[in-house]
Amino acid sequence: MTAAPVLPERGTMAPAIQVTGLHKHFGRNEVLKGIDFHVDAGQVVCVIGPSGSGKSTLLRCVNRLEEPSAGQILIEGVDICDRKVDLDEVRSRIGMVFQQFNLFPHLNVLKNLTLAQRTVRGRSKDEAVQIARQTLGKVGLSEKESAYPAHLSGGQQQRVSIARALSMNPDMMLFDEPTSALDPELVGDVLAVMKDLASEGMTMMVVTHEMGFAREVGNKLVFMDGGVVVEEGLPTDVLSNPQHERTQAFLSKVL
């Protein structure tokens, strides 16, 4: 280690994700009713809650796949609703993993991983391929680079979609129930990849029903219900000693 002065890296000053007073309605249906929420750099925050409580909507507001109705969203201190902000540039630094994988079915695995690298990052073909192979290796699918998504199992597809996001060298990753569409025996492989990521210090926001993962890997657990954050805290605290009645009711059903 050299004795260079310790400069704050990008993102260490402000939280990676800071959501303040977020409201979202679809027509007259108010789905998010004032959410305050943050994820610090290097942390893994898991979001749990019953179906329809607004978890996906919150996650999708973080990279503005959903347009917030009111409130503020700061990514590394930058207000992404500001008109002057290049939203595409911000999104390229936020990896996103969907429940339904959403791999590009007309492209093979390698092309799935290089398309955005080349069109967004402007990387050369050689560089993009090299990075793609590296991330594929990381998720344990090096031998699948020329396969098409339709020929992969759900678990493999989800790992490819994680690799696709990682190929962009994102500052943080969003996961929306990444294992909910998988056969039970394939869940472990995907969670293992996510665990590795967390141990490397990746900033992660994970909507999940995997309480084991939340307990073991999460730095913070957030329980949502009815469009509000009901309770948050250390995963072990929230899971074994929930303070709020609604949290207790939910946990008694899923645990």
Binding site: R93, N102, L103, H106, L115, T119, A150
Partner: protein, 268 residues
């Protein structure tokens, strides 16, 4: 009689009726006259019969005109489809008006308008003479139909595809071109092939606009052979043209059927 026996009896009766009909037609028909009129020896002779012009002029031009009309219609249709799905409302209105207008008109009316109406109204003649004008008319109508096909194809691509691309930071244009359209095209290959077959037949309308001898498409050549050449005065050239049309269209319609079967099997 059991239900099964009755069913068998009914089937036998159908076959008997069919056979009786065929026999009656064969007895009534004047076979030598029919052969003379529809398959005249002179007309089908390879050495100096109709085949030469029918193939080297008619069929070649039909394929050429179809290809031009298809390519033009596809380009126009793509622009219209994207306009129809545009977030900018006036683009949507314009595209909708255009599509509804030109789908509601006979192609022939538009073709005649392009070849005769435009020069009169605007003093402007479209390039390529009568054939060029007719083709532009055909493209304008085909574009309206293909726009609807393409729009349906684009909308059939799951929303998650564009979301995944956008979440990676891809711009809207890149997302459309690299992610959505390739999948949409795959979906619309069968209906577009059908569109191609319809266009092959629509090029026959060019006959009504008239064309120079070596610009004639298949129907025009066949029509001219009704009054001239070795089979003049018989319908032989029309039968020959019909065969040539089928040689082009049958493989294509079979291809569509095969593509549709394959698509149905590989639902991902």
């Amino acid at each position: 009689m059991t239900r099964r026996e009755r069913a068998i009896l009914f089937q036998v009766a159908l076959y008997v009726a069919l056979a009786a009909g065929i026999v009656a037609l064969a007895l009534v028909a004047d076979w030598p006259t029919i052969r003379e009129n529809f398959w005249n020896k002179g007309g089908v002779d390879w050495a100096d019969g109709n085949w030469g012009d029918l193939i080297t002029i008619g069929m070649v031009n039909t394929v050429k005109y179809t290809a031009i009309a298809f390519a033009g219609g596809l380009a126009l249709g793509l622009v219209l489809a994207l306009m129809r799905l545009s977030p900018v409302a006036p683009y949507r209105w314009l595209a909708t008006i255009y599509i509804e207008f030109f789908r509601g008109l006979p192609a022939l009316v538009v073709m005649i308008f392009m070849s005769t109406g435009l020069p009169i109204a605007f003093g402007w003649t479209p390039p390529g003479g009568t054939v060029g004008a007719g083709l532009i008319g055909l493209i304008m109508v085909a574009g309206a139909y293909m726009a609807e096909t393409l729009r349906a194809g684009i909308q059939a691509v799951p929303k998650g595809q564009a979301e995944a691309a956008r979440s990676l930071g891809m711009r809207p244009g890149t997302t459309t071109v690299r992610v959505v359209l390739p999948q949409a095209f795959r979906i619309v290959i069968p209906p577009l092939t059908n569109e191609f077959v319809l266009l092959i037949k629509d090029t026959a309308l060019l006959f009504l606009l008239g064309a120079a001898a070596n610009e004639r498409e298949l129907t025009s050549v066949a029509k001219d052979f009704l009054a001239s050449g070795p089979s003049a005065g018989t319908a032989t050239s029309l039968v020959q043209a019909a065969l040539l049309y089928l040689i082009i269209t049958l493989p294509l319609t079979q291809l569509v059927a095969w593509l549709e079967r394959r698509q149905r099997r590989s639902v991902r």
